[in-house]
Symmetry: C2
Subunit: 483 residues, 2 copies
């Protein structure tokens, strides 16, 4: 969209938000819901439903009722105002970022925070403001639980960072690959990973994303970043993970498409799936061993699995979340999460945000943004008043690692006799076995459960940071120059 198009777009988005809200909170919707509940009750009492049907329909209705009640609590004026403020916020954030000057965006952020607080107040849930806003991303998440889950990371990640800081930086060559060559490598990757061209499309966009537009219509985008020859490849792996998850949701038959049960369990679970394919698979040593020759043939200065693997895993704490390595990534999230608590519940003034941001980056990561564009303006989320999303990224790392452990056990019980069955699958190009397991054990649940319930079901253990820290420690050991 050209910059001057944004005000009209803002008006459209505001209108759509109001129309949607009025529909989702209408008497007609409530009547349909009541009818559906009556029908369900009748079918249940007459014994027409098997156990699965009974659970699925009941849960679907419960989630529809929850969504309706939330919408009903919201004032339509607020809904419209919020949509306008989001469009305006996004526009000003872009301007601020271009000028590397937070002050362009500060008034919009102040307004968004006020509106979000009002929204949380209207929703009147038995939760704090931040918790209320986080619900659409992570159902049932509480700050207390989050602090339990993140506590070991707060302690351990800085220690690991300290270790890595002591390492001699390995000399890295500057290289790049032609756009078309990068595209071919991505095509190769997705072919290896079983892409079905009849239901998936790949395109380019400034920010990579994955989306689903119909029961058999999955799209993903990637981007080519000059000077970062692996960026497009890893973004493709990441978005493919998101897409595979959506492809595995329970709506292939149309039945649950557009219904709550056909939707992702949570954003953390979504992220766990993208991170699994990006980090656990594409950044693994075994994958590099198997795939490096494609890079070599494409003209990259890669002469072994080890050299590709090192390129895939730079360990350099930086200012940017999106470009962060697996170790420092969590720190970026911890900083943002704390700042959201502070902004929404602890009275941090918007004007003080840049300073607070920079202070925390210096203290924990040892790097200081040169300007606001590198600092608190880097992410899009706050530009639209999205609060409560960031933790999902880090929870995704935790879930991915814990699910990978369960997958290993699962693969062993399927008869794979290897010490590390996931590595075995990668080495032998048997990604399809991992996918089958995910398709059976993880993907189909959708919103039948929340993220923690899913993890408990899949792994038999409550969610924790253990698996992730274990994975990280092992990886650092392998990457250590002493190894």
């Amino acid at each position: 969209m050209p910059p001057a198009g944004s005000s009209w777009r803002g008006e459209q988005l505001s209108l759509l938000a109001r129309l949607l809200h009025s529909r989702q909170s209408s008497q007609a919707f409530e009547d349909l819901l009541t009818e559906a509940k009556d029908e369900f009750r009748e079918a249940r009492s007459s014994g027409k439903l098997d156990e699965t049907q009974e659970f699925e329909r009941g849960r679907n209705l419960e989630l529809l009722q929850q969504g309706f009640s939330r919408q009903k609590n919201l004032d339509s004026g607020l809904v419209g105002e919020l949509a306008t403020a989001q469009a305006e916020g996004y526009r000003l954030w872009q301007e601020a970022k271009e000028n590397a000057d937070f002050s362009f965006f500060a008034p919009a952020l102040r307004k968004l925070i006020a509106l979000r607080k009002e929204q949380a107040a209207q929703l009147a849930e038995p939760r704090s403001c931040w918790e209320t806003l986080a619900q659409p991303f992570e159902p049932d998440l509480t700050k207390i639980r989050l602090s339990e889950l993140f506590a070991p990371l707060r302690r351990r990640l800085p220690e690991l960072l300290e270790t890595v800081r002591g390492w001699e930086p390995s000399p890295r060559s500057k290289w790049d690959l032609d756009e078309l060559v990068q595209q071919k490598l991505c095509d190769r990757l997705l072919k290896d990973w079983g892409r079905d061209q009849s239901i998936t499309c790949v395109a380019r966009s400034p920010h990579p994303f994955s989306t689903t537009l119909g029961p058999k219509d999955f799209r993903l985008t990637t981007r080519v970043v000059p000077g970062q020859p692996l960026s497009c490849f890893l973004a493709t792996a990441h978005e493919w993970g998101h897409s595979l998850y959506e492809q595995g949701l329970n709506f292939q038959s149309h039945q649950w498409f557009a219904w709550p049960l056909g939707q992702a369990t949570s954003m953390a679970v979504h992220e766990s799936q993208s991170l699994f394919w990006e980090n656990r698979i594409a950044r693994s040593f075994s994958f590099s061993e198997r795939f490096w020759h494609h890079f070599a043939e494409a003209g990259a200065p890669i002469d072994s699995g080890n050299s590709l693997w090192r390129e895939m895993n730079p360990l350099t704490p930086g200012l940017n979340r999106v470009e962060a390595d697996e170790l420092s990534y969590g720190i970026h999230i911890l900083i943002r999460t704390d700042l959201e608590f502070a902004l929404l519940e602890e009275g941090l003034s918007v004007d003080d945000l840049p300073e607070e941001w920079n202070k925390r980056y210096e203290n924990i990561l040892g790097v200081v943004p040169r300007n606001d564009a590198e600092g608190c303006l880097q992410d899009v989320h706050w530009s639209e008043g999205q609060f409560g999303y960031f933790p999902s990224y880090l929870l995704g790392h935790l879930i991915s690692a814990q699910i990978a452990e369960a997958m290993s056990d699962g693969l062993i019980s399927l008869g794979i006799e290897a010490q590390d069955p996931i590595d075995w699958c990668i080495r032998t190009s048997n990604e399809s076995m991992m996918l089958s397991w995910l398709r059976k054990e993880v993907h189909p649940y959708g919103r039948q459960v929340n993220a923690e319930q899913l993890v408990q079901k899949v792994t038999g253990k409550p969610l924790s940071s253990n698996a992730f820290l274990k994975y990280l420690e092992r990886k650092l050991e392998q990457l250590s120059p002493d190894t």
Copy 2:
């Protein structure tokens, strides 16, 4: 969209078509219209409106009433069925084209023709079926008028073609340009032509197009065709012409955006504007004289204005409409128009279409498609049952030429003392003067008038093929090897 996504998309399109139809033919719409007419009558009789306001509001209401009456005449079942058939037709056409086999598409075309006939019957206008279907593209067009306008072309174009056939083909070198280089040349062109980046965006798509998404949101796309280094450049010029027209429509103030008066006069007028910038400007000798060094610097084997100009103007009658030169383009349209008459009104059987198509191509252009993909499957229009559109392309050539003559006079009266003022503007990089003239004389009318009325207003003469044939004859003279 991935292929398997099309059935869901078809359902969505059908739903949208039915919703739109039900809204546009609703009692609520009629009531609003009645109210607006009452209000208008009152304001007029109380002398509150100046002459312009009176005309504009009256005309706007007249067009709204016309649109309402048309929608009201249509049965909602037909509307939904047609939308589904269009989606299905498009899908099958793609399949047929890939397989170069018309029989894949024939049943869908048969259905589309039946539904379109039914649509025309329901509209019950005092016009033939084909004429009724052509109205949305060319308001007030009749077959009789079309046959008058095209008669000189039917006679003269084949004669000119015969002349050109006698020429020794000039030896042409095979060359190509890198994608990025082509993009830079296009950027350069649009910069020269006064592109305002705040309201326009340029992207890529398989088929170039131009669209307007808001009062300050103009988008165009282009494509890079391997082996055709000028295709992207000329497509950009063409789409930019469309976009300039939309940018000049009378809705910059929001006032008429989404109202009939803010819409293009007709598709032929739209096409005249794209063709003006593509053919009259970008393919002119003066433009090549001025621009060739950019191509030379970009690495193209171009060493003079003349060499670029020859590359821009190949004269090779071929099978493809989109790739046709200015001379044979008209023939492609005449063939399609006659076939549409035959299919809709003269009982030509769908099964006989490929044979009829090929016969006409052989007789008139002397070329025979090797298969249906090169033949009657080449254009997208019929795949969605769009009949009545093709003449607009050729009428656009006529209008462009006639408007260019008036522009020349206009520029002279502005004080430009040159024998050919348009060429003068091109040579001296004064495209902005031509645009200013178009912005004043052509663009703002929108649907205040139909295409013929616009031409009469702008040029003081009825629309005819004279200017176009004169332009063509002069151009061929210049391109002749004897010159």
